[in-house]
Symmetry: C2
Subunit: 148 residues, 2 copies
């Protein structure tokens, strides 16, 4: 699945991502980058609504987990189990979330757990930017599983 | 501002809340309850998308902070500074977030900080339910301020 196919998947299967005008810029096993337009995501101050920022970062972390598990098991389910966000700066323009798999050991452990138990956990960090300005930090734990 | 006026405010000023069909059930200084329809918030598994759950809970916490500061200073701004969520159960129907101000001391300290410094912090907990089943827990810290 390339970035365009993944964007279509998001827009078709998770309608909120279309309403929020999420656009997939990069979708690989090493990095996911997804951007959002300010206009549909603005609040009453004409800055980005915190809930929209949270949505974008949640999707970016999910997408990186998906990119890594789908080649191992196309039928794996992925859910988010917990997350935390720090909001650092108000966002006044379109914004972008980046999630990078920086620690190869995390991936190895994730896939090892999955292969042994049909269930694996992956913790990822996501950073949200307006241009080059870091506006929010997110940590999320995702669980991949297959009950069949 | 009653619950209907607050719902109109949300839908007009934060368009995502209209797209997600948020409906304000209760809006007082002691309790905020906001519900969401599953349909616009579903994911590819036809359960509630984690990002939508996060959005709803972020709004509920913001709303309780707003309800408490607006009588003190109608011109106060409120931003979320950090939050964390635990996702406990998949949600298969419409869902509701409840935020209650249980600790009177928290409110007193918040308003005291605000009156002294034109800036105050309030930490709140929000619980998300499908019927009576607790599906997600949220803690958020909100900052009210007035730079004028």
């Amino acid at each position: 699945m390339n970035k365009n196919e993944f964007e279509q998947f998001l827009h078709n299967q998770i309608p909120v991502t279309k309403a929020m005008e999420f656009s997939v810029k990069e979708f690989t096993k090493l990095k996911v980058e997804i951007s959002a337009k300010l206009e549909p995501n603005k609040n009453h101050q004409s800055t980005a609504f915190g809930g929209s920022i949270s949505c974008l970062m949640t999707v970016a972390g999910w997408a990186l987990t998906f990119a890594n598990i789908k080649e191992v098991d196309p039928n794996a389910h992925i859910v988010i189990s917990k997350s935390n966000i720090k909001y650092l700066k108000p966002i006044k323009k379109d914004f972008t979330a980046e999630c990078t798999l920086t620690n190869e050991d995390d991936k190895i452990n994730f896939l090892k757990m999955y292969n042994e138990n049909h269930k694996g956990k992956l913790s990822v960090k996501v950073y949200c930017y307006e241009d080059d300005i870091l506006a929010a930090e997110f940590e999320g734990q995702y669980v991949a599983f297959n009950n069949n």
